[in-house]
């Protein structure tokens, strides 16, 4: 089994061999999620879960981009591209959402290639800043294209068309939160599996090597620009898919949903959950999206809960919440004699 080495604040050489699931926790969780509608009856909380699952896809895709050392602070905009593209096409041309959702993902991916290519000129914090502006610019362009996107917002987006196989199964989506929930759950599982597989493939290794040292990577013959654009495009594709699904669930879209602050929050969910592990964004998003919703009754005090969680995590968990497991393992695991560094130098 390969040993672990920690470099900077990002790149982890994860074991290439070994079981994907450390424990039975993940399959159990998935089964519980499938059974959720049995014990949660209120549509409002199903709604919260749906939104959370969609954002989990987006933040996980953000992490995929971050694997190659590019922290995109404009990621929500690509979710928006997918959402608006799918929404407008299905509304104006009448195509089925089942068709336009993948198209939305492709549109986001296309935009990512277009934008990501010139953005490879810059690295690290400069990339983050440029992506920040890129995100805001995209949202403004969406606003300006009022003829299609509707300046107040895009309304009248068709919901997911019913699945109707006579005699076998009939599912409607309009007004049925539970149907949307299962769709979203399946979508999330598919996307997350895809992202996980991609990460463990050779291309994932390539990205991580670029993040560690782009000079060394280039010297070994890795095409830095191509790989970075690929990582950017991959991440944005999944964000686009999630965005398009959001459009056909919410049925109403407004530009600020995909703007500056949401983009920053996405990065925050990833960082708080833990950037190093695949499960990090999942945990981070789940906690930071769902907990404030559960505390909604506190009205204007609700953000304080969010702030409290963030402060605790940032002080006590340098690798994010997911990093906790690593810290505990390192303390009680095989490398007992090794000291656990509390934060990267």
């Amino acid at each position: 089994m390969a040993t672990r080495h920690k470099y900077d604040s990002g790149a982890f050489l994860v074991k290439v061999k070994g079981k994907p699931f450390k424990s039975a926790a993940v399959p159990v969780l998935v089964i519980l999620l499938f059974l959720l509608p049995l014990f949660v009856k209120q549509p409002y909380y199903i709604h919260v879960f749906i939104i959370t699952l969609l954002y989990i896809i987006v933040v996980s895709s953000l992490r995929t981009i971050a694997l190659s050392g590019q922290v995109s602070v404009g990621h929500a905009a690509f979710m928006g591209i997918g959402a608006y593209f799918s929404g407008v096409i299905s509304k104006e041309l009448g195509w089925m959402p089942w068709l336009t959702i993948p198209l939305g993902g492709l549109a986001a991916m296309f935009a990512a290639v277009l934008i990501g290519y010139p953005f490879t000129r810059v690295r690290a914090i400069y990339f983050s800043m440029v992506s920040l502006f890129g995100g805001i610019a995209i949202v403004n362009i969406i606003r300006v294209a009022q003829k299609w996107t509707g300046a107040i917002g895009l309304t009248g987006i068709p919901p997911l068309s019913p699945i109707d196989i006579p005699g076998v199964i009939s599912i409607t989506f309009l007004g049925e939160k539970v149907s949307y929930y299962y769709f979203t759950l399946l979508l999330t599982l598919v996307c997350l599996s895809a992202l996980y597989r991609i990460e463990r493939c050779r291309i994932g290794m390539t990205w991580k090597s670029i993040a560690q040292s782009h000079l060394v990577a280039s010297s070994v013959g890795i095409n830095e620009v191509g790989s970075r654009v690929l990582s950017f495009a991959t991440g944005c594709f999944f964000a686009g898919i999630a965005g398009a699904s959001y459009a056909h669930y919410n049925l109403v879209l407004t530009a600020p949903t995909f703007g500056f602050l949401p983009s920053i929050f996405l990065v925050m969910y990833m960082l708080v959950g833990g950037r190093d592990r695949f499960g990090g964004p999942i945990i981070g998003t789940a906690i930071l999206v769902m907990v404030p919703e559960f505390f909604r009754s506190l009205k204007e005090f609700t953000p304080l809960i969010l702030g409290a969680i963030m402060v605790v995590v940032v002080f006590l968990m340098p690798q994010g919440i997911a990093g906790l497991f690593d810290q505990i393992k390192a303390r009680h695991g095989q490398d007992r004699r090794r000291k656990v560094p509390t934060h990267a130098a």
Partner: protein, 287 residues
């Protein structure tokens, strides 16, 4: 009459530029010198405005004194900020960013809860309007311009002439080398944070008088401040003047030809284009 219009727009551009520069100064200082993305700049700016309002409007203290007091009070908050919120994560960009975001969330809600979001405006510092040559200029904006320019000059002089200022420049250029020279990096960053917070407070108070106060006013300001600083380039304080002027001109002229959201989009497009060709900004270090 077109020349009158252009003259007015030009004057507006200068005024806008000075407002942007004022808002961006504190942020630029921390980013260029300490490498800290201090998103909390948004809420400190807001807090400065509210403190000034509290002193001037509620306690009835003279406005100018309130402005100075607000800068002092908020500046000292900077000490706490540096010591407990940023020093533990020195060098770790991610954690610093999350911390500053946590600060935004907590401070915004605290102010919203304590003071309420009702419409408030800091009492005017210098009421009155000057007119001449077909151009009108409110004295308040002129005062803001002057203060902005003075602070800008003071900051540059501080960086060049005083010992601590020079230490700051050293750290921004090569932090490890600076430490090896015996510079106490923690002390310098404490001073830098205090100055940055004081600058934010002044900006907040002045803007609170020109426009109005609300707990979320920092959010939009932050975008503009980041634009100014990134366009100027990380590592350059003086460059903030240049990029502030450029942005002020863009934002002043574009509304004449375009309308509504298109002005925002095009303005940003120009900034992005510049950045793609010169990622280190107009005046910054090499990327």
């Amino acid at each position: 009459m077109v020349s009158g219009l252009l003259a007015q727009v030009a004057v507006n551009a200068l005024m806008l530029a000075s407002m942007y520069i004022l808002m961006a100064l504190g942020f630029a200082l921390l980013l260029s010198i300490m490498g800290v993305l201090n998103f909390a700049h948004a809420v400190i700016y807001m807090a400065g405005g509210y403190v000034c309002y509290q002193l001037a409007a509620v306690y009835g203290i003279n406005q100018w004194l309130s402005l100075v007091l607000s800068a002092v009070i908020v500046g000292s908050f900077g000490l706490f900020l540096e010591r407990f919120c940023y020093r533990p994560f020195f060098g770790d960009v991610n954690r610093t960013m999350v911390m500053s975001l946590a600060l935004i969330v907590i401070l915004e809600s605290t102010v919203n809860i304590l003071v309420g979001s009702y419409v408030r405006s800091v009492p005017s510092f210098a009421p009155g309007v000057m007119r001449g040559g077909g151009v009108s200029l409110s004295v308040e904006r002129l005062v803001t311009f002057v203060i902005g320019a003075l602070l800008m000059l003071a900051l540059i002089l501080f960086m060049q002439k005083t010992k601590i200022g020079q230490q700051m420049s050293a750290i921004s250029q090569e932090s490890i080398g600076a430490v090896l020279q015996g510079i106490n990096i923690y002390r310098v960053s404490a001073v830098a944070t205090v100055i940055a917070c004081a600058l934010a407070a002044v900006a907040g108070s002045l803007m609170g008088a020109i426009t109005n106060l609300n707990p979320f006013m920092g959010d939009q300001m932050l975008v503009k401040a980041i634009e100014v600083v990134i366009l100027a380039g990380i590592g350059s304080i003086g460059g903030v003047v240049g990029s502030g002027l450029i942005l002020g001109t863009i934002d002043s002229f574009l509304p004449l030809v375009l309308s509504g959201c298109a002005t925002d989009a095009l303005g940003l497009g120009i900034v992005i284009l510049i950045l793609l060709f010169r990622p280190q900004g107009l005046f910054g270090h090499e990327a």
